[in-house]
């Protein structure tokens, strides 16, 4: 039987697998998308399938922390038409990249007695190793950008992903600014939108889980935090919880 459906491969590296679950969470929506496409490789979803491809779309979840992942990633890139990192770990390093703020060996030693069996390297996002064709941001990745990206690629058009900060969504919801009005340290001004300003809508400051927005003015926000009396250490922690490897937030990651 001929099968002309575009093929999708899903690969997991160092992460919580939440983005793959997010694929499942989208239930109805995603089932529609995947009627038009075929998932040929996704270990968590189905047995069988080969990682050799070829794939029309490869979705990559998780950050890179080991050598074998780099080798596989490069192979996947070479057999995929489009390759898209999904979720904060793959896009900007996410939570697994917090360890980059410390000496690698120190971090490993705290967990394992015998570190000779450990082959981890510093955490990097996917685009540090291969060219990517877009990003689906979020922790877990956002539904809107996922459907937009998959549909666009299947139609052969450029996906129109959200490229502004959380503040825009917060204003659209009519929230009172938690940073200005309540003095709550909020990462909204430098964090990519997509969550619908979830935290500020629930009485807390954004903690940046969608990762850096492009051209974020991290310096201005870090200065503002300092004026609010927040310690240098706390500011550094805020800018390294998600997106430590990203250059966009470097201005906030200064060691005291």
């Amino acid at each position: 039987m001929r099968n002309d459906k575009p093929k999708i491969g899903v690969f997991k590296y160092s992460c919580c697998a939440g983005c793959e679950f997010q694929l499942i969470y989208f239930q109805k929506h995603i089932m529609e998308v995947f009627k038009a496409a075929e998932i040929t490789y996704c270990k968590m979803l189905q047995s069988g399938g080969t990682e050799e491809g070829p794939f029309d779309v490869a979705l990559i979840e998780g950050a890179i922390t080991e050598q074998w992942q780099v080798e596989q990633l490069k192979r996947v890139r070479s057999v995929s038409k489009y390759l898209i990192p999904i979720g904060s770990c793959a896009v900007c390093g996410g939570v697994p990249a917090i360890k980059n703020t410390d000496e690698e060996y120190e971090v490993q030693k705290r967990v394992y007695d015998d570190t000779s069996l450990i082959h981890s390297v510093k955490t990097h996002p996917i685009d540090q190793y291969v060219l990517v064709d877009g990003y689906i941001k979020g922790c877990p990745m956002g539904e809107r950008d996922l459907t937009e990206t998959v549909i666009s690629l299947l139609l052969g058009k450029r996906p129109d992903c959200l490229e502004y900060c959380v503040c825009v969504e917060c204003k659209l919801r009519g929230n009172i600014c938690v940073l200005v009005a309540y003095g709550e340290p909020c990462m909204g001004p430098v964090t990519n939108a997509g969550c619908g300003a979830l935290c500020p809508s629930h009485n807390r400051g954004c903690y940046g889980c969608w990762g850096p927005m492009n051209d974020a003015n991290a310096k201005a926000l870090a200065d503002q935090f300092e004026r609010m009396g927040i310690s240098k250490e706390d500011i550094r922690r805020k800018f390294t919880e998600f997106g430590q490897p990203s250059s966009q937030w470097k201005a906030g990651q200064v060691q005291s």
Binding site: S14, Q22, I24, M44, Q46, Q69, C139, C199, E241
Partner: protein
């Protein structure tokens, strides 16, 4: 002729995370669960982070049980810093954790375990051939995720839950509407038990200790003592003196044991074996209907135990919401140094977190032991027994049986390594 004596499943599909199974039919080497999920060193990089970040960070250990990690960590931090929480917070935590247990069980039963027994490769395949079952899964999951999201802000990696309580509480109307939906899916939950009871599981009787969280009055989820079917009964504070965790050469996950005691199992089956009498009356009746008896010593029946917890959980959520009103609360947290721990029932079983916090509110030490680490030793032991009892079977049959057994434990390798 060469007789191959080794069976290797080199990247087990339909489980959370990455592992291989290596079986030697001649028993020349022990059966191994080679967990190659890369370590992310949570316990390493949590050192130096602030107490109020811990919950948000550890929820990223697992995409299927983020609520459990978050709740356990926050409770441990509260214990370390001497923070008391309101009764409402404790009820909301319970609700959120039960809802996540149901969601996790549903994913495991329908998407990970069921394809084996229904002869499918995965859920996409199932969707084509077993529409009714998958429709049931989707309908139930929608409602359950809505409940988790109602309390947590979102179902995956919730945002409202911080040390001291919840930053926002949903309106009474939304609670009322979710009760209606939960009531609608009650009959579906019973169908889940029937779907799972159709699994043709192998007969395997394993002798081990079943460990769970116990409470005098209710089916313990977030609070209680650590109990077992063989008389273990300790306070959570004594966990580290009783349990031991050690690194093994072939896996990045550590293996948990109780020195001086036999190998043990945690999870839905262990919970039912320990506290069957605390289930809702309807659940007990249903269990009798499908001839589920406790203690149940077949690890494959962990699936069935999970399906019973789905029914029980839905009923309990309805009761908890109906018998309480929830309103916004003010709470303030004072930073105090100290050490504290907490154990909860995650979907896959006993989960333990402990932290040492300094006077600045910064973590100095973190220790996390997950259900799959607790089950690690027992999975290998049961695999050995399974292979011995099925010596005459073909290699393919043994391979499938081994895969099914590991899946029945509903392991989470992302958690186990973390």
């Amino acid at each position: 002729m060469i007789i191959k004596k080794k069976i290797e499943v080199d990247y087990l599909a339909r489980v959370e995370g990455e592992t291989s199974i290596v079986v030697r039919l001649d028993h020349a080497r022990p059966i191994k669960l080679k967990i190659f999920e890369p370590p992310r060193f949570f316990e390493g990089f949590l050192v130096g982070r602030k107490y109020d970040e811990v919950g948000d960070i550890v929820s990223r250990i697992c995409g299927i049980c983020p609520v459990s990690h978050m709740t356990t960590a926050i409770q441990a931090v509260e214990n370390a810093m001497g923070i008391d929480v309101s009764q409402q917070t404790r009820i909301l935590r319970k609700l959120m954790c039960i809802s996540q247990i149901i969601a996790s069980h549903l994913i495991h039963l329908y998407m990970l375990a069921m394809p084996d027994y229904y002869g499918c490769a995965g859920v996409v395949d199932m969707q084509r051939r077993f529409r009714k079952e998958i429709a049931r899964l989707i309908k139930m999951k929608e409602v359950i995720n809505e409940l988790t999201g109602l309390i947590g802000g979102r179902a995956l990696h919730p945002v409202t839950h911080i040390p001291g309580g919840f930053t926002a509480i949903a309106s009474q109307d939304r609670f009322a509407s979710i009760v209606k939906k939960l009531t609608q899916i009650r009959p579906l939950a019973k169908e889940v038990v029937k779907d799972v009871a159709r699994f043709d599981v192998p007969d395997l009787h394993c002798n081990c200790e079943y460990v769970a969280l116990g409470d005098e009055t209710e089916y313990a989820i977030n609070e209680g003592r650590i109990i077992s079917t063989k008389g273990l009964n300790i306070a959570v504070e004594d966990y580290r003196r009783t349990f031991s965790e050690s690194q093994v050469s072939y896996a990045f996950a550590k293996k948990s044991t109780i020195p001086g005691r036999p190998s043990f199992m945690v999870g839905a089956l262990a919970r039912l074996n320990n506290k069957f009498d605390k289930l809702q009356p309807q659940t007990k009746a249903l269990a009798r209907q499908i001839e589920f008896e406790v203690p149940n010593r077949n690890p494959f029946n962990n699936n069935l135990a999970q399906s019973l917890e789905v029914v029980d959980g839905v009923d309990r959520c309805i009761k908890l919401i109906e018998s309480n009103t929830f309103e916004d609360e003010d709470f303030r947290v004072k930073i105090r140094p100290g050490e504290g721990s907490s154990a909860t029932e995650a979907p896959r079983g006993l989960l333990f977190h402990s932290y040492k916090i300094n006077r600045k509110g910064v973590v100095e030490q973190a220790n996390i032991v997950t259900p799959t680490s607790h089950n690690f030793q027992n999975i290998e032991k049961d695999l050995k027994k399974l292979v011995e009892e099925n010596k005459g079977s073909s290699r393919d049959q043994i391979r499938l049986l081994c895969e099914q057994l590991v899946r029945a434990y509903d392991p989470c390798f992302s958690c186990s390594v973390h």
